[in-house]
Assembly symmetry: D2
Homo-oligomer: 396 residues x 4
Amino acid sequence: MTKNKLFMQNQKKLRMGMIGGGPGSFIGAIHRNAALLDGLIEITAGAFSSRADKSLETGKELMLDENRVYASYDEMFEKELQLPKSERIDIVSIVTPNHAHFDPTKKALEMGFHVILDKPMTLSYEEAKELYQVIQNAEGIFCLTHTYTGYPMIKQAKQMIADGVIGEVRKVYVEYPQGWLWKLLESEDNKQAQWRTDPSKSGASGCFGDIGTHAFNLAEYVSGQKVTKICADLSVKVEGRQLDDDGAVLMRFENNASGILTASQIDTGAENNLKIKIYGDKGGIEWMQEDCNSLMVRWPDKPDEIYRAGSPFLSSLAQENTRTPAGHPEGYIEAFANIYRNFARCIYARQNGQEPKKEWLDFPGSEDGIRGMAFVDHVLASSESEMKWVPFIVEK
Amino acid sequence: MTKNKLFMQNQKKLRMGMIGGGPGSFIGAIHRNAALLDGLIEITAGAFSSRADKSLETGKELMLDENRVYASYDEMFEKELQLPKSERIDIVSIVTPNHAHFDPTKKALEMGFHVILDKPMTLSYEEAKELYQVIQNAEGIFCLTHTYTGYPMIKQAKQMIADGVIGEVRKVYVEYPQGWLWKLLESEDNKQAQWRTDPSKSGASGCFGDIGTHAFNLAEYVSGQKVTKICADLSVKVEGRQLDDDGAVLMRFENNASGILTASQIDTGAENNLKIKIYGDKGGIEWMQEDCNSLMVRWPDKPDEIYRAGSPFLSSLAQENTRTPAGHPEGYIEAFANIYRNFARCIYARQNGQEPKKEWLDFPGSEDGIRGMAFVDHVLASSESEMKWVPFIVEK
Amino acid sequence: MTKNKLFMQNQKKLRMGMIGGGPGSFIGAIHRNAALLDGLIEITAGAFSSRADKSLETGKELMLDENRVYASYDEMFEKELQLPKSERIDIVSIVTPNHAHFDPTKKALEMGFHVILDKPMTLSYEEAKELYQVIQNAEGIFCLTHTYTGYPMIKQAKQMIADGVIGEVRKVYVEYPQGWLWKLLESEDNKQAQWRTDPSKSGASGCFGDIGTHAFNLAEYVSGQKVTKICADLSVKVEGRQLDDDGAVLMRFENNASGILTASQIDTGAENNLKIKIYGDKGGIEWMQEDCNSLMVRWPDKPDEIYRAGSPFLSSLAQENTRTPAGHPEGYIEAFANIYRNFARCIYARQNGQEPKKEWLDFPGSEDGIRGMAFVDHVLASSESEMKWVPFIVEK
Amino acid sequence: MTKNKLFMQNQKKLRMGMIGGGPGSFIGAIHRNAALLDGLIEITAGAFSSRADKSLETGKELMLDENRVYASYDEMFEKELQLPKSERIDIVSIVTPNHAHFDPTKKALEMGFHVILDKPMTLSYEEAKELYQVIQNAEGIFCLTHTYTGYPMIKQAKQMIADGVIGEVRKVYVEYPQGWLWKLLESEDNKQAQWRTDPSKSGASGCFGDIGTHAFNLAEYVSGQKVTKICADLSVKVEGRQLDDDGAVLMRFENNASGILTASQIDTGAENNLKIKIYGDKGGIEWMQEDCNSLMVRWPDKPDEIYRAGSPFLSSLAQENTRTPAGHPEGYIEAFANIYRNFARCIYARQNGQEPKKEWLDFPGSEDGIRGMAFVDHVLASSESEMKWVPFIVEK
């Protein structure tokens, strides 16, 4: 809840243009909530749909100037660049299905915009490698919305592990159970299910491209360890489905810790209760999204402790990512907003020629993005392989 | 998550001016988050502090036009009224300590602004009675932020009880445990503790004016029953404190249901886990803020059920007050934002000459406000009385 | 899990005769499980029912020698006394409805047996006063099965509070919610409901005689504080019922701590989730029967802690009352068995002329019994009174 | 809580002799609690230790006739067989470390005793195959104490899945997290740690022989599906340890369901919270030992349900395995006692020439035993293998 006040002088809200997020989009609305919550960003423009009428419909709902509602992102880029810098959008937010990540991100970066992109980074690992290079050379800042890294108690866990509080990490469990694809929903009139299970829109993996990447990212983020080899078993459990809807991966990390990652969209009745548990040689931490404001810290020889978001004794990393005192629950939108806020703070710092606080820099980017796409690629290869272990090597 | 699309044509964001919420204010920041989250309101002006420099400091942080940052609410009202209606603020948001609720609310309403006011409504019951009459005659809409009524599962509970799902209400338990005033914090440099325990700023009650009123409001809101008599036992548990920091109230409702309300700020170690449990002659409901996205529904002869926010089978009242599907936790800020959003939707409806949906009208107002102040007044009288029961009669 | 080995030399199992607990009795079966679990007691005799055939039926199920199955307790006392001391029962266990507590307890004690009696101690306060004197003069040991004091984490809480860990007690909440009498079950064929709601068998109070006394006993036991005045509000919520089925009591303790006690049998859908929360001027403890192996310890300025039954760092009082290491849940029968085991250990100590360990002496007795009956008496008087407070004075 | 009364005529308690369970044994004491709880079994004899003085020490604590406390099981078998059948032990309970399972079990069965044996069945798969044949030909009844199958809500889950309530099983998660071997405890004076990590006493696997087998048994028991292939990754995480202390196994079942089994003894701070989650094509079930009286039942399109032990609407399989009404927690000892009780009931039925109720027959036996040993054998092989999948084939 702290704020670097000096840096806030004479500034204006950052202007954002959104790509995707038209009528019926779930994630587009969440991105907008997250961007608006802290008052640092305003939504100024958008190419919300590839259909002009749909794009306009959303633009009107958002009460935008109709001149800044576009029928394509190419048009948005072109027209916005013609505006004076003081009016032009600063940020491009991309919330399209996976097949429409690469091109607008690349173009936006090449034109000098800052980009915040919904995960996974691209449709394929090949695209990811190319985009990774683009990002390294871009002037703008790139952010990838691995939402779950935005939770304050996840930040607290990461910091405690980095500080050695639970000792050397030996064991990482991460599970991402969903049940919403328990039946062939894509054969009904469900847009979300349709694109998520369509290889041309989602890429070569369904469940693992969508939520497996979140789980993988969280495991590496919190543990501070990188995966070095994997053994995967993916399935299609619902007949007629084109992409994996379930899977499990055994993992080993660089320090030889063991890991188990499970992700499913056919755990019938499960909602979205992402969980992570990490054990070191001194203690352990456990977190789950359903109780996202608590971090259980376990000890072998004294009472377990519950750290709670908003407590004054938390690490600065956790505190920079909360808005309320303990007992006032924050949730998914706030976690998402933490990513937007840190991204925005870093943009301000750059505009002002300031050094951002290290806590602000803690948001996911191209490194997370390429590792996520490599993970999907390797999981698919491993799942096909008769050998147990596939080395996990990320080419950039 | 539904939205009445027709009504959204050609509209602009509602412009809001805030009174209070300057440097160090907790609740001011929350009001701003809540107002901004859904993109219906923009913060345009403010008199954030009675000190001009402090007001400006906050105005700059919010990146406001400095011309619209004022040193007093009187100045704000005067200057804003000189602006054309298309630029002038629509809404006044009042987040000052209790002693500064009555005057700005009365003036703002009399000048035709819509007002959203932090609870409790006033410093005293006498003020409340006068303000109640002002509100009845005002053109603008009045909203009182009893936050907890904004939670979707509280809405669900209210609807289920109103629909008779758990039968005739027999028993209401409501408890509001906090521990933050466990020591004489007001003797340290803690502004929050100082005004909360100062009768000239908080009124005749400390704990009950602050959180007892929330608990009372929630009990009546969810049960659908009005309190008819009470028996109160307030205490000052921390030596040297001027106002009650703890208490319990036995209650009876109009249908003869029994109730127990407890509120404390000296439950050392407790955060803010407001709970309500209501039992009828067919079943019961239980809710607590720490698990705010769940509603436990209990049955005598079949398995208990857990209703979860975001589930498609919830009542329209719950669904209108969520943004995410089940499993994506929403929290305190979203509950607060639900009140702002419904308030804003009703303002739009009025501006557009439309009938608001009945779900939008479900936000707390003057009736809640005057009952809350009457509750504080009666609790204090009962606590002093040697008789067990004090009739609860609200004069308007 | 420790054991004083020396004291176990050359001993035989204690022989127990049971009064009540015939066909259909719930609590009789529980007493037998509790008595048998640790192998210190054997069931040798019984007068299980006032009907000889029913008594025999239970005796056969228990595989007793038919000569030691009696048709009345008077017969049991007479015949057992004729047996040599080495065969005769040592213990009388009394599990009848309340109206049949006084007489057999008095007689058994006067004949020199040790007595373990189901709560509440008697049908009326008058009986309790008389029995209290009998117990003071008796040779045998008297134990009253206030089950909930047998839980290891309740012992831990009591010890921590006695040791000042949470500081001076300021606040005690105890609630005992049941829902099984949500309808007029006594008009159906339900023996349990019939006697519980019949004044001639249960005494002047229903819910408060049954479970209110448990809650009261637990509050005093854990807090270490005695109640000094009360304000009660009892109800009959189900039409046609003869005794209270719901109530709440405000309390003050000798050190001026405040308390709230609620007990209900019409919290429809509630099972038996007895809860206690106590806050001092340094921290707080919270326990509930549904999670009986955990004790939550709350702090204002550091993470909350969870103490767990079976942990090696618990107090000796807790450790003497567990059998399994942490993570192997113990429950209601084990809590009950702890009372039986401590009672038995004290009998052995007396037989062997040894000093019992102080942890063994920690079981409820006549003091708990008379205070419980005084509580019921005062609650009924207070509930009728128009005055708020009734002093709580126990005559012996 | 039902009981087949007819079968209880004229019977005496079953007499049991215990092998192992001398001073310091955890599991021996639990077996005794479990055997005694329901009053069907008495402990009559024992060879509690291979040291005569230690055996006698335990015998005295149990208040046994010293003539029936033996220095070896061979002596016990020999002497007991010389007693008349009406005095001789009926049951042999074997609670020694794994290396001392095979021989006494084989002998006891061959001499006509009923045998109840702690898991795992033997030291090695080879022994298991031989013992399996012995059991098939034995007159006595054989029971293997896979404790967790004794929990009432596990029984309920098994029955609901067998009845098709959650549809065709697609996914099985089972995890058994412990942390007690987080350091090299076997180098300290800890007997439990010493034999558990010593191949000559525990067999070829440590963690998987001890708790992995429990998890495997539970997965097959509840799901009603048999494992057909596995992929294992075992580790020794604590330097200097001789046997695996951690591992994970991917599994496939006969109906092509996927499974993930994890077991660890180095999840530092974890107690013993065994969990199982199974999802079918209609719904899912979730259970964990820490909340062992609840079964969560999840649905995709209506509220989740919580089934609670002791509820009158549970299956007969669950009801036969509880003693208390809902809300009176039962735990680990009761689950263990359920196995003993069902075993005892079947012995009575056989003695009386009666047909046991089908619910009584539901206890683990030789089939569970040999599959468990095969599981350990295959897990070790798979963990060494470079190939992903190892077929799971049980030879008998």
